[in-house]
């Protein structure tokens, strides 16, 4: 990577995307990573494979599958956040287009596909519904790793799956409160950071990954 920073650049990897190991979901299992069990985790890894196919080969079939699954949910989310059906339709198409255009930036070791799509939808939502500028944290000085560690990607996807299950398992009132927070119905003083969700594991994984990368960059 060629960076104009004071620290010396890391061993140069060219910007061209190297072949992603394994188009087949089963190939993930063969790499010696932890065995993935459960239909849900398979579905999540399939999304990763599909985003990768879009990124590497502009694969329209893979994109169509992502579209079929996510677009209706993004639209629903936007409507629950206050968008009219027409606006939600238009905004969702833009979100999915952004998915295609920014596929190179997706890092499966940092987020599940659902998380990533949520951040795109949330940013669009703020732009369109609140008509506000959204300050984003500074980009990390390194981009997504060209060859993400397969086992880390799988683990992150699994952790996110567990998070989804924990959300579903919450007492209905508590879950509804969290939903309302994300639909934009609660003021900042009404939002409590205490969600009753197991966020600690995801936080520590990402924290460790950041530490490792910073250390490697020195």
């Amino acid at each position: 990577m060629l960076l104009e920073t004071p620290t010396p650049p890391k061993a140069d990897a060219p910007p061209a995307v190297p072949p992603y190991k394994g188009q087949d979901v089963r190939a993930f299992y063969k790499t010696g990573a932890r065995r993935v069990t459960g239909e849900q985790s398979t579905k999540r890894m399939a999304w990763v494979v599909q985003v990768t196919a879009v990124r590497d080969h502009q694969d329209k079939a893979a994109f169509a599958e992502l579209f079929a699954y996510f677009a209706p949910r993004v639209k629903s989310f936007l409507m629950k956040s206050g968008a009219s059906p027409d606006m939600a339709e238009e905004c969702t198409q833009e979100v999915m287009a952004t998915l295609w255009n920014k596929a190179k930036m997706f890092d499966p070791t940092k987020a599940s596909v659902s998380t990533w799509i949520f951040t795109i939808a949330r940013n669009r939502k703020i732009d369109i519904l609140r008509k506000q500028r959204r300050p984003e944290p500074e980009d990390l000085p390194w981009g997504p790793e060209a060859e993400p560690d397969q086992s880390e990607a799988i683990v992150l996807q699994q952790e996110t799956e567990k998070l989804g299950q924990a959300l579903a398992a919450l007492p209905s009132e508590q879950r509804k409160l969290i939903e309302r927070a994300y639909y934009g119905e609660l003021s900042h003083s009404e939002i409590a950071a205490e969600t009753g969700l197991p966020l600690g594991t995801i936080k520590s994984r990402i924290r460790l990954a950041l530490d490792r990368l910073r250390h490697a960059m020195k």
């Binding site: 677009a71 339709e89 198409q93 999915m96 255009n101 949520f118 500028r133 300050p135 927070a181």
Partner: protein, 203 residues
């Protein structure tokens, strides 16, 4: 969580984004809250898209400018992380300070109306005049440090003050304390002279 959900006023978002640029723990926490958002979104009952939605989307894609894969290196030619740099349009040297009394200077940054954010410069050893809050205040230290009744806040730290707090932060000796402070209510200075100045300075 409010930052992840996108419900904070822009002024608070700026403080949070700037702090996250300086704090890996919070960056990791943001990822976790983003993940919650993703799961909430997955739970939303799917609502059918228009018949030609996919085709329309492919058209959008064809017309979009290509996106650079590599992130731009952060514009750090000073102490301001990128998001703050954008709002000031420069770094510390570019700040247009206005005196507000007691040796303290500020620059109000342009954000949406529901809250306000300003840069504050507090000379070493100076106390920010006693002020109460109508609402919530976030103060991020960018340079130096200040000591409040309860704690010391150094570079990168954020103090969260709610409406009950009447506090008098004092900048540590050694260097000017530069802070980014967002509040959703006008600051109330409790001394007579500062309150008089308040009307003119728009605090």
């Amino acid at each position: 969580m409010g930052y992840a959900a996108g419900t904070l006023p822009e002024a608070f978002n700026l403080v949070v984004a700037t702090h996250i640029s300086m704090c890996d723990s919070c960056r990791a926490a943001l990822s976790a809250y983003d993940a919650v958002g993703g799961e909430v979104m997955l739970d939303a009952e799917p609502i059918a898209m228009a018949e030609d939605a996919l085709a329309a989307t492919m058209a959008l894609i064809a017309n979009a400018p290509s996106v650079d894969a590599m992130p731009k290196p952060p514009l750090r030619n000073g102490i301001f992380p990128a998001p703050l740099h954008d709002y000031v349009d420069g770094d510390l040297v570019s700040v247009k300070w206005r005196r507000v009394g007691g040796g303290v200077s500020q620059m109000i940054l342009q954000t949406s109306n529901d809250a306000s954010v300003r840069l504050l410069r507090i000379p070493a050893g100076t106390a920010v005049p006693d002020h109460g809050h109508g609402g919530m205040e976030l103060t991020l230290v960018l340079q130096g440090a200040f000591v409040d009744e309860t704690d010391r806040f150094g570079t990168g730290d954020v103090e969260v003050a709610n409406e009950d707090m009447n506090h008098t932060p004092v900048a540590e000796a050694g260097m000017d304390c530069i802070c980014l402070a967002a509040t959703d209510a006008p600051l109330r200075f409790t001394g007579i002279l500062p309150r008089f100045a308040q009307r003119f300075v728009g605090i």
